[in-house]
């Protein structure tokens, strides 16, 4: 399976996403924001970072990039798309997932190993988790507060589009403790924490067993590989 990782000017975790895809056993394909070519990839990752400095609004300028037109039509065709952090912000700005992001309620950038619960295991990116599974994934952002109006919130809660919820601490003031959401079809998922930073022992979050050993991010990538295998 070939998974594309798009680099925008200011993308930072693109190389980490590429590494995580390879660790999970798929073939990473580097894609460039300025082109219209998805190189026939089977799934797409919008990585973390500060595209265009996150100036204007996080993800806003990148959501107008040439390749986003292709991402939008691929998403409509059912191609799995994962937006991580800045990628999540781009998905929201491009209206591929509901809601929007504002500055963290405490107004600071925050980095922490974040616990969250997997609320929906039927998406292309979460089918290898068990329902209600609690995982720890690194979080790092300044504009991570998920907001939506009351109607939208009620709708996505009812539809099961809330895929991840923060537990323990709500790190940024997100409404309903929402850490990640999906589109209605479940092929497009966005979340603030960084699963690619929890895929390699020695470089992930601390666990009870050993420091930096957390690999709770791996099932994201294994899930999309499993959906791909199921589809062919």
């Amino acid at each position: 399976m070939r998974i594309g990782v798009i680099t925008f000017p200011g993308s930072l975790d693109d190389r980490d996403a590429i590494r995580a895809v390879a660790i999970a056993g798929a073939t990473p394909v580097a894609l460039w924001h300025g082109e219209h070519d998805l190189q026939g990839v089977d799934a797409i990752i919008l990585p973390g970072g500060f595209s265009y400095g996150d100036y204007l609004r996080a993800g806003a300028i990148a959501s107008h990039a040439p390749i986003m037109a292709e991402v939008i039509s691929a998403a409509d065709r059912g191609v799995p798309v994962l937006g991580i952090c800045n990628g999540f912000q781009m998905l929201a700005e491009a209206r591929l997932v509901p809601g929007a992001h504002t500055r963290n309620a405490h107004q600071q950038f925050i980095r922490r190993d974040q616990r969250m619960r997997v609320e929906n295991v039927r998406t292309d990116w979460t089918n290898q988790f068990t329902a209600g599974q609690e995982i720890t994934i690194p979080l790092k952002n300044a504009d991570g507060r998920f907001v939506a109006d009351a109607d939208t919130l009620a709708r996505i809660e009812d539809n099961g589009q809330v895929v991840f919820r923060y537990i323990g601490v709500n790190p940024n003031g997100s409404l309903n403790d929402i850490a990640g959401v999906a589109n209605e079809r479940g092929n497009v998922v966005g979340l603030m924490p960084h699963p690619e930073h929890a895929t390699e022992p020695g470089f992930g979050p601390d666990t009870e067993l050993a420091m930096a050993s957390g690999v709770d991010g791996l099932p994201f990538f294994e899930s999309v590989i499993a959906s791909f295998a199921a589809a062919v």
Partner: protein, 605 residues
């Protein structure tokens, strides 16, 4: 590419300078002493043009010329033995030192101050401090992979401290995070001696393959001199000389510096762009533009190369078209680089910068005239021997005197202080210590820094040293720690500097890495104060002797003088950074107990 808007402002030409030898020039306002001005006239055989005066003034400032510290810093070279040099690929004197770490990999690192700007505008001052040190690393051909920050603030209870602390920390967080560089450690210390003069020392580390090493010099007659990155604006004009040559608290309105605004996004794009230029072998060398901007880049590149350069200054792309030639020469606009490009590679060069949306203009070319000649709309406004600007600036043997107060300070020992006599008093004292700003947990700072980005961070806070994997195949990596103790140095700068070295050395060693190199940032008061100069001379000697004893070389660093409030200098604060190597980061040793039942040993004396 956009073309520069021609400026209507006429500049003082070389011909005009020759014809009007008696014209009064504002050299003093630019921070030059009468003797220095006289010596510029002597070098040129005429009065300088206003453009030349701008260049000499910024390049001969303490900050750029090291005029008070040079005689002492030579020890770092002379006290380096062959054995200490064994891993050294590039030593002192270049943008940053480079150390061979094995398997064909090399690491480069450097620490630099941005103290005064961080007091005036803490957020932007600290942010641009990170930006500046990272550009030093890029110019060596390396990919920046980590940053650290050594910070000193005033009394935590002073009302102004919050402004400075929060501004500085969020500036570092904003710039470093947005650049995608993990912050792997640093220091935070509060003491009222830093009240109106915080210390913001930023460190960056880069990695490269041996064959990717590049030095910034202008070789090859006919090669193009290209400026790329952000446009030039009115930022920090005069900052280099005015900020760093005098205690800014004395500054009148005319000395009020303009601040610089950092754009980490532009710098991130510039990093990727430079690495692609190096990788495709499209450049001979790249020089970063830091303090003193184009003045510094042109004169240093020319001095380090074939010695001649011709520049058409009106080709500089401007953000503000009203800038004068002198202001363009002095501007400290951030996120700019200068490259030397072979003419046949120019098209390839332009293709890469266009891909990254980086604005570029060709300013001129390398010549064999031995002169740096700068034209402004066809008229010659600068014609100098580049070494006289960049290398052979004034050197001072400043007077040194043993501090009158130091014996009394040392005699006033802590053993005279009352000891707690009851369990309650002891308990109260322990709590006071635990609650003191300098011992308390620093998570409120470090939680604002990204440590995960790039996916190679093996150790960071709360570990004693930060550690980063260089080679994913073998696990080869490096560790870095920074330390300093101004109070020890106030008592005894010679041993205080050695203690800082020893602490940083230990903090690296305990991670499991082997220390191999040192970078330092020497923060002191005014060099015109003989007691400060004594402290400086002792600290440098202590550090150089300490490095000999530990057998690791100083590969570079930075001197920051004039750190004082009014007449009161800060404690001498030589911040020492030690870099070590480890053949597999999987063997790292974290600080903190890992498993139940481990034995605990106390080593040493």
């Amino acid at each position: 590419m956009t073309t520069a808007t021609p400026s209507p402002v006429a500049a003082d030409t070389v011909a005009n300078a020759a014809a009007t030898p008696d014209r009064e020039q504002p050299y003093a306002a630019l921070g030059l002493k009468p003797e220095e001005y006289a010596s510029i006239r002597e070098i040129l055989g005429r009065r300088p043009t206003s453009g030349e005066l701008a260049m000499y003034s910024v390049m001969w400032s303490e900050h750029c010329s090291y005029k008070s510290s040079k005689p002492y810093l030579r020890q770092f070279g002379s006290k380096t033995t062959e054995k200490m040099r064994r891993n050294l690929m590039v030593g002192m004197g270049e943008n940053a030192g480079v150390v061979d770490v094995g398997n064909g990999w090399a690491v480069t690192f450097k620490i630099e101050s941005h103290n005064h700007p961080s007091y005036i505008e803490p957020f932007q001052g600290a942010a641009t401090g990170v930006g500046g040190i990272v550009r030093d690393i890029i110019s060596m051909g390396a990919r920046p992979v980590a940053v650290m920050d050594a910070l000193r603030f005033g009394d935590i209870d002073d009302p102004d401290t919050a402004r400075v602390v929060h501004g500085v920390v969020s500036g570092i967080s904003f710039y470093g995070n947005c650049l995608g560089l993990p912050n792997i450690g640093g220091e935070t210390y509060f003491d009222s001696v830093y009240q109106a003069n915080p210390l913001v020392n930023a460190l960056a580390v880069g990695v490269l393959r041996h064959e990717d090493l590049h030095l910034a010099n202008a070789r090859g007659v006919g090669n193009k001199v290209v400026l790329f990155g952000a446009r030039t604006g009115g930022d920090g004009i005069g900052g280099a000389s005015i900020l760093a040559s005098d205690s800014f608290s004395e500054g009148g309105p005319t000395k009020r510096p303009a601040v610089q605004v950092g754009d980490p996004f532009a710098e991130k794009v510039l990093i990727e762009c430079c690495l692609e230029l190096f990788q495709q072998e499209l450049v001979e060398g790249i020089q970063d533009l830091g303090a003193a901007g184009i003045s510094c880049a042109t004169s240093e590149l020319a001095s380090n190369g074939d010695g001649g350069m011709f520049i058409e200054l009106e080709n500089v792309l401007l953000r503000d078209p009203t800038l004068t030639a002198e202001e363009i020469l002095m501007s400290e606009s951030q996120e700019r680089m200068m490259a030397i490009v072979r003419p046949e590679k120019l098209d390839g060069f332009l293709a890469v910068v266009t891909k990254w949306d980086v604005e570029t203009s060709v300013l001129g070319e390398v010549t064999d005239t031995g002169r740096l000649i700068i034209n402004w709309h066809g008229e010659e406004i600068v014609n100098v021997e580049p070494r006289t600007v960049a290398v052979d600036g004034p050197v001072y043997n400043r007077p040194v005197s043993y501090p009158t107060w130091i014996d009394a300070l040392n005699a006033d020992s802590a053993s005279a202080l009352a000891r707690p006599t009851t369990p309650e008093e002891l308990r109260e004292q322990v709590f006071r210590l635990l609650g003191s700003a300098n011992l308390a947990d620093k998570r409120w700072i470090t939680n604002q820094y990204d440590t995960y980005v790039l996916g190679n961070t093996a150790l960071s806070f709360p570990d004693d040293g930060g550690m980063v994997r260089v080679d994913e195949e073998s696990g080869l990596g490096f560790a870095v720690a920074t330390d300093a103790n101004g109070r020890y140095c106030q008592l005894d700068p010679y041993h205080g500097a050695q203690l800082a070295l020893a602490e940083a050395f230990r903090n690296v060693a305990v991670t499991g890495a082997t220390p191999v190199a040192v970078s330092d940032c020497l923060n002191f008061g005014s060099p015109e104060n003989p007691e400060v100069m004594w402290q400086f001379s002792r600290a440098v000697e202590g550090l150089a002797d300490g490095c000999m004893a530990m057998e690791i070389p100083v590969t570079g660093g930075n001197v920051s003088f004039y750190n004082q409030t009014g007449d009161v200098p800060i404690h001498p604060t030589p911040v020492v950074a030690v870099l070590g190597t480890i053949d597999d980061v999987a063997k790292r040793i974290p600080s903190g107990w890992q498993d139940d039942g481990n034995n605990i040993y106390l080593l040493g004396v």
